[in-house]
């Protein structure tokens, strides 16, 4: 076990649930690296997860306080939780592409609009993989999956044409980054920046699913072959939007607002 694993993860859950050769575990560990680099301890973070590969991999791995929400709703839960927690506590949410961009988009966008102090890490495996490999909003165009036997034909939001992160930006997120799991330190650095944002941050980390996407779409379960394809998969990566500090964080603004109401009442 690595030092980070011992430091941050529950021993009995540390191995995770991801398949052999999957990028999910390395992506998960990039979050841990960013936490470590930021000098944060178990007591500083409450960790929430959604459902799917990302949820199963990350739920209750965190040795500190942790929860899992219903599919797509964890952003709404985090909005309530944020108001209950002291401002210095950080909330990290590890979720999948389906959770964030389809079933939970409404709640994700409203969380961004309010600039709720959370760091959403979208662990994007290019489709619905925990249910056996169906296409999602981030599946590459034309992909053969279990639910697109003749190839996907609907417009996606994968970033080659329409990009869901533009919607998240317009909704009011104050920090947005996208990386692939192959980018080494860059995702770690972005997550660390996100953790410094008092408001709403989203960092998407893309990795290809070997077991389903590899087999159904690429016709191979060979990890090197899947990653060879992935290296040339066109994605705009890096920090896509940074307006940290441009708007007040939700819970702080809320408390300020309540104070103003009380002061006004006293004046009267």
């Amino acid at each position: 076990m690595s030092e980070l694993t011992t430091k941050y993860l529950r021993a009995e859950k540390a191995r995770g649930t991801s398949c052999r050769g999957c990028g999910l575990r390395p992506a998960h560990h990039k979050v841990l690296e960013a936490i470590d680099r930021s000098g944060l301890t178990l007591a500083d973070i409450v960790w929430g997860t959604g459902i799917g590969c990302s949820g199963r991999q990350t739920y209750a791995t965190w040795k500190g306080d942790t929860f899992a929400g219903t599919h797509g709703r964890v952003y709404a839960m985090a909005t309530g939780l944020r108001l209950a927690l002291p401002p210095e506590k950080k909330i990290i949410l590890t979720v999948g592409d389906g959770d964030a961009y389809t079933i939970g988009l409404q709640h994700l966008l409203n969380c961004a609009r309010r600039n709720v102090g959370v760091t959403v890490v979208v662990l994007d495996n290019l489709g619905y993989q925990s249910t056996g490999g169906q296409y999602s909003i981030t599946t590459p165009e034309g992909s053969v999956t279990d639910s697109s036997p003749r190839g996907t034909w609907e417009q996606n939001w994968a970033g080659q044409g329409l990009d869901v992160l533009n919607i998240v930006k317009e909704a009011g997120a104050t920090f947005i980054a996208r990386h692939t799991v192959l980018e080494g330190d860059a995702p770690v650095s972005s997550i660390a920046q996100a953790l410094q944002n008092p408001g709403f941050s989203l960092v998407q980390i893309v990795y290809p699913c070997v077991s389903h996407f590899g087999v159904q779409t690429l016709g191979t379960r060979s990890v090197p072959e899947v990653y060879k394809w992935f290296e040339s998969y066109p994605l705009s990566t890096g920090i896509l939007w940074n307006s940290i500090g441009s708007r007040p964080e939700f819970s702080e603004a809320f408390r300020q607002q309540n104070n103003n109401i009380k002061n006004r009442k006293q004046d009267v």
């Binding site: 409450v46 040795k63 306080d65 929400g69 709404a76 108001l83 709640h107 309540n258």
Partner: protein, 391 residues
């Protein structure tokens, strides 16, 4: 004691705030909108939070998140919003996190009629979460004063049982205006028998033990207890599992923590039941017409009694063991409570009087009572009440 003329909506808000509710998230919907409006005015005065959620799905999830962080929280809605609570209700139920839900029932199905009373969610309030394997607590106020009292009690029970508690009201309770007494001093609180339960913090890191015990604090995050909770079947540590034995333990806890302490929940009012040949049964506003019908019927020499359910779930079978006919009065046409009464009353004959949008009158109920006592089939214009008309 403060004595005012107020709506059930306002009474619910005052009850919630007195019980320590500091977060309300909701989405406006007739006839529960005034609860949101009142909370938006009142909560900031108490350092609390009022949020207008993007939808009812978010509303209850926001409440769940807040409760998970240690705040007492409430939401309120009516039928079309209530159905959207299903997801979050199941989460709170299975994760065993306290929260209070108000449903002011209107006329359905679906959007139906907005500003008239119905009672179409009797079973939905019991089975709002999918998957079964649980019991749940549902309370039904019949007046403005009781809306206040039961809201206080709902928060109390939610904390002790670590579970969502539903207040199943109707449009007439929430929109109706009535004399409302509000406590102003500690003596007033004692006189009203109000009891409160502060939020406790589960020590963690293990999850709730596999017992039927209540008063085990719920998981509260942010105290670095290593607490873990989710909607998945939990291990003893609260981790997700597919182990069916652990699931049995979880389901047993969810069911028996409620059933084995139901003396804290069960509540009903009975009128003149001891020698009654026929007992009228209702909850919510219609039960008040039943009460008047019992008084009036007794004056006319009928051996009539009445039962008003104050707690609906878990269902109080024991109330229906008398040898008598039962006439169940509901604000719906399909008969919901009557099915449960028929199950509980077993060999006795059970009849149904239903309508929605408008309360029954005393006259109508006594006419139906007469018909039953004379062995006639209950019949109403244009309706053949086949299913529930047998004597």
């Amino acid at each position: 004691m403060k004595r005012i003329f107020e709506t059930g909506n306002a009474a619910i808000c005052e009850g919630a705030i007195l019980a320590g509710c500091r977060l309300f998230a909701g989405y406006p919907i007739t006839p529960a909108t005034e609860i949101a409006e009142n909370m938006s005015r009142r909560l900031p005065e108490e350092d609390g939070f009022y949020l207008q959620a993007e939808d009812e799905i978010a509303a209850l999830h926001i409440c769940n998140g807040a409760s998970l962080g240690g705040l007492k929280a409430m939401t309120a809605t009516s039928g079309p919003g209530y159905i959207l609570f299903a997801d979050a209700f199941g989460w709170a139920l299975s994760s065993e996190i306290p929260v209070v839900i108000v449903n002011s029932q209107r006329v359905g199905p679906v959007s139906g009629i907005t500003g008239a009373p119905g009672q179409g969610e009797f079973y939905l309030s019991r089975y709002l979460a999918h998957g079964g394997n649980y019991e749940t607590i549902v309370l039904a106020p019949a007046s403005v004063q009781e809306a206040f009292l039961l809201t206080v009690r709902a928060f109390y029970l939610a904390e002790r049982f670590r579970t969502p508690v539903t207040i199943l009201a109707d449009q007439m309770v929430t929109d109706g205006w009535e004399t409302l007494l509000l406590p102003e001093t500690a003596e007033d609180i004692e006189e009203m028998d109000l009891i409160f339960y502060d939020r406790q913090v589960h020590p963690g890191p293990d999850f709730y033990p596999p017992t039927d015990d209540i008063d085990i604090p719920p998981v509260v995050l942010g105290h670095n207890t290593g607490g873990a909770c989710s909607d998945w079947t939990p291990t003893l540590k609260g981790h997700d599992t597919e182990d069916i034995e652990l699931h049995h333990q979880h389901a047993w806890r969810l069911i028996h923590k409620i059933l084995n302490h139901r003396e804290l929940i069960d509540d009903a009012e009975e009128w003149e039941v001891d020698d009654a040949e026929i007992i009228l049964v209702a909850y919510g506003t219609p039960s008040r017409v039943v009460k008047s019908a019992v008084s009036e019927g007794r004056l006319q020499g009928l051996r009539i009694g009445g039962i008003r359910l104050i707690s609906l779930w878990p269902f109080q079978d024991k109330l229906f063991q008398r040898k008598a006919s039962y006439l169940v009065v509901e604000l719906n046409w399909d008969g919901q409570l009557v099915r449960e009464v028929e199950r509980a009353a077993r060999a006795n004959s059970v009849h149904f009087w239903g309508r929605c949008g408008e309360l029954p009158t005393v006259k109508e109920l006594l006419l139906t009572t007469q018909q039953i006592l004379e062995g006639k089939t209950i019949s109403r214009e244009a309706w053949k009440t086949v299913r529930w008309s047998h004597v």
